[in-house]
């Protein structure tokens, strides 16, 4: 396996005329804003030309991540949580700090049958729920507080997906065991008010 994550000095770059010859790369170049030659250097034949005038703002949230209890399909949240000590696994926190997502979203399809109240309060009194899409039973040990704690520790903004009438899907609105899983606007509003 060969992976490089390197930088080069200006010295080396000028030596090689900024050759881009491997894999993917990002290059940062600092321009002399007050250039002594306002016209800049003469155009190079065949060079890529960057027009440095800003076109539009880039959202920092283009580099977000999302966390969703994926049940028996891929043990994402459960694997990241230390159930014995009721804390996040430190190695997961550390590597996420390295990844440095700007924003973390709680849930995806899962939120179509997630009732937020089941995931707050004392951990030993939280109600497990059937993970209808991803399989298995979700234990609700990681809920709103724990998720926000994770976000704070990795420097990401939290984003919650609300249960909007089970996304209009009847098969999620009521679980095979007869539980009502559909959420209402009122319930979402209370979630916002509670935090």
């Amino acid at each position: 396996m060969n992976a490089l994550d390197h930088s080069m000095t200006t010295d080396q770059i000028s030596r090689r005329d900024f050759l881009v010859s491997v894999g993917i790369g990002t290059a940062g170049a600092a321009c002399a804003g007050e250039s002594p030659r306002p016209a800049g250097p003469p155009p190079l034949q065949g060079a890529m030309v960057i027009d440095p005038r800003p076109k539009f703002e880039l959202s920092p949230y283009l580099y977000m991540q999302f966390m969703e209890p994926l049940g028996v399909t891929d043990s994402s949240v459960d694997a990241a949580w230390d159930f014995g000590r009721d804390v996040w696994r430190e190695d997961v926190i550390e590597i996420t700090q390295e990844l440095a997502p700007t924003l973390l979203r709680w849930g995806g399809c899962f939120c179509s049958y997630y009732r937020w109240r089941e995931g707050v309060g004392p951990q030993n009194r939280r109600r497990p729920m059937l993970n209808q899409l991803w399989g298995g039973i979700y234990n609700n040990q990681v809920g709103t507080h724990e998720f926000v704690d994770f976000c704070r520790r990795v420097g990401a903004d939290p984003l919650f997906v609300v249960n909007f009438e089970a996304d209009g899907r009847k098969y999620w609105a009521v679980s095979p065991k007869g539980d009502v899983r559909s959420g209402t606007a009122l319930e979402a509003g209370e979630w916002v008010r509670a935090f």
Binding site: L4, D5, T10, T26, G33, F56, S59, D74
Partner: protein, 554 residues
């Protein structure tokens, strides 16, 4: 592929405000950014996570236009203030693509490149130290300074350190006149820092920096007075996934080692066409058994020179660095100019061809360009010693290595200062130092000063099963044979060449490394680990029998 998707996001950033490339974390999906081993272990970034991290850290606040992108490349650009960020993807898996760029109406003042180059097909299955190193990057920069000049180095947190050269004081060897060490006075953000520039010295960490005085214009012809290497202290010395130790299974790291800038010696019949007898080593020499030690490429690259007669092999990597191996006993057929080699690929056998001083060893050097290689000695290269230590430690990190180099020259009867402070501690701090001399005396402490009398020529070798009982509890247990001390009496005569005049009747004495002393080190609570080079108490004196590794060195 993932990077192309991030480029699509960036191009459409006028309407797209929230996006990702990965599933965040989990235990089995290959598209997770973070893989969490269960039931325990250390979580790591998957390739998609590495790509996201790269973009997250190196993207501007506003998109800008880029045109003229050649076929096969996918490029976007953004800016933040007067900085421009360029994201370039080579979508071709079968070849490199060269491109240049310019910024309209501006002059580029400086720049940096970060890249990922992953093999087209690989799967990460578990955490390994190599992967941890891969997650980091090695951003070594070179500062060339004259006294009074300042080099600004930017740390990961965005802060800058001003490195100012204040003074350079070189110290010459009293016998052969070569520079032995230099004291480099620096200021880091105004705070004084004194660095020793000498063989075997590892970098110093201070104020978030790792810094090393590589060389001075006294050692080598260069336009500036001092060359320093500078890293962010959070980065590794070298990115070990892209630079490996060149000798697989090697257990002799400090045995007969000759470091960068070390004064070395060639005898009359040792094959240096220039007839040099003493000079500074401009690479690192690793002793080994002629024809019996495999040599592998330390880097991925292309062979640019292959000379089986002299045993020279040069490999250029994609950054333009040239790796040079010298004295190879043989180079594999098929390893010739133009051959692409992979890191870790077997290229030849260690030997003593060319100007090896009949010393069976691998000479390793890294040059910054082919032009530097062509100039040979004067225009070099990089202080490879810390890289090799780091690469060796990546394989055998817990080993303790006694270092008593560099070679010294002295006059019989004059005191010699033997310094063990450059020893490599391995997994724990060094707790004690003990020097055992072959006259039966011992000294404690990191530095030993001793005068030697009545030196006779002899070669010591230990060729059976390692170093015996005193190494118990330590990892430093070389296999097979190993070299011990070497003392060569070299009575000076007029034909010797550039030896400065000394009082009549005194002989010049060439001390190789710890020479007459065995330096013993111990980790706290453990047995002593003998010096790989000079454990006199353990060495058997084979008065006239040639040493298998270092025969006829003078």
């Amino acid at each position: 592929m993932g990077a192309c998707v991030l480029n699509v996001h960036e191009r459409n950033g006028d309407v797209l405000k929230i996006a990702t490339l990965a599933d965040f974390c989990g235990t089995r999906w290959q598209n997770n950014a973070v893989m969490i081993p269960v039931p325990g272990g250390k979580s790591f970034l998957m390739p998609v996570g590495m790509v996201m991290r790269l973009y997250r850290r190196h993207t501007g606040t506003h998109a800008v236009d880029i045109s003229g992108v050649p076929d096969g490349l996918d490029a976007t650009a953004s800016c933040k203030g007067d900085r421009v960020f360029l994201h370039v993807v080579n979508t071709r898996r079968d070849r490199s693509i060269e491109a240049t760029f310019q910024i309209r109406g501006r002059t580029i003042a400086s720049g940096r490149v970060f890249w990922h180059a992953l093999e087209p097909e690989f799967e990460i299955l578990e955490y390994s130290p190599e992967q941890a190193a891969k997650i980091k990057s090695s951003k070594q920069q070179f500062a060339y300074l004259d006294p009074g000049e300042t080099f600004a180095f930017q740390l990961h947190d965005g802060t800058e350190r001003q490195i100012r050269l204040v003074s350079v004081a070189e110290e010459k060897d009293p016998v052969i006149g070569l520079i032995r060490r230099a004291q480099i006075g620096l200021e880091i953000d105004g705070q004084p820092l004194s660095l020793v520039c000498a063989p075997y010295v590892m970098p110093t960490e201070i104020a978030g920096l790792r810094i090393q005085a590589d060389t001075t214009s006294g050692w080598v012809t260069m336009p500036k007075r001092v060359q320093c290497s500078v890293w962010d202290a959070a980065d590794p010395i070298v990115d070990t996934p892209s630079f490996s130790f060149p000798l697989p299974g090697y257990r002799l790291f400090s045995h007969g080692l000759q470091a960068y800038n070390e004064p070395v010696h060639l005898g009359d019949r040792d094959g240096d066409p220039a007839g040099q007898r003493f000079y500074h080593n401009y690479g690192v020499d690793l002793a080994g058994y002629e024809g019996r030690q495999k040599v592998v490429s330390a880097i991925d690259g292309v062979v640019v020179q292959s000379d089986p007669r002299e045993g020279n092999l040069c490999i250029r990597d994609d950054r333009g660095l040239i790796l040079h191996y010298g004295h190879l006993e043989s180079i594999l057929t098929g390893i010739r100019s133009g051959t692409r080699v992979r890191r870790g690929e077997w290229v030849g056998m260690l030997g003593r061809r060319g100007a090896s001083g009949n010393f069976s060893h691998l000479h390793v050097g890294v040059y910054l360009s082919e032009a530097a290689l062509a100039d040979d000695h004067p225009c070099r290269n990089l202080n490879l010693y810390p890289w090799l230590v780091a690469a060796y430690q990546a394989k055998r990190g817990s080993e303790l290595h006694a270092m008593a180099g560099p070679h010294q020259t002295t006059v019989v009867g004059d005191p010699v200062s033997l310094d063990g402070r450059n020893s490599i501690p391995g997994r724990a701090d060094i707790a004690s130092y003990r020097w055992d001399f072959d006259d039966g005396t011992s000294m404690a402490g990191p530095v030993a000063e001793k005068a030697f009398e009545n030196i006779v020529l002899r070669v010591c070798a230990k060729t059976t099963s390692g170093f015996g009982g005193s190494a118990t509890g330590s990892d430093a247990r070389p296999e097979g044979g190993s070299v011990s001390a070497e003392i060569l009496d070299r009575p000076r005569n007029e034909a010797d060449g550039p030896v400065p005049p000394r009082p009549a009747g005194l002989g010049g004495l060439w001390l190789a490394g710890p020479a007459v002393a065995g330096l013993l080190l111990s980790h706290r609570g453990q047995g002593y680990a003998p010096s790989s080079r000079g454990s006199a108490e353990l060495a058997e004196v084979l008065a006239s029998e040639p040493n298998p590794l270092q025969q006829n060195r003078n």
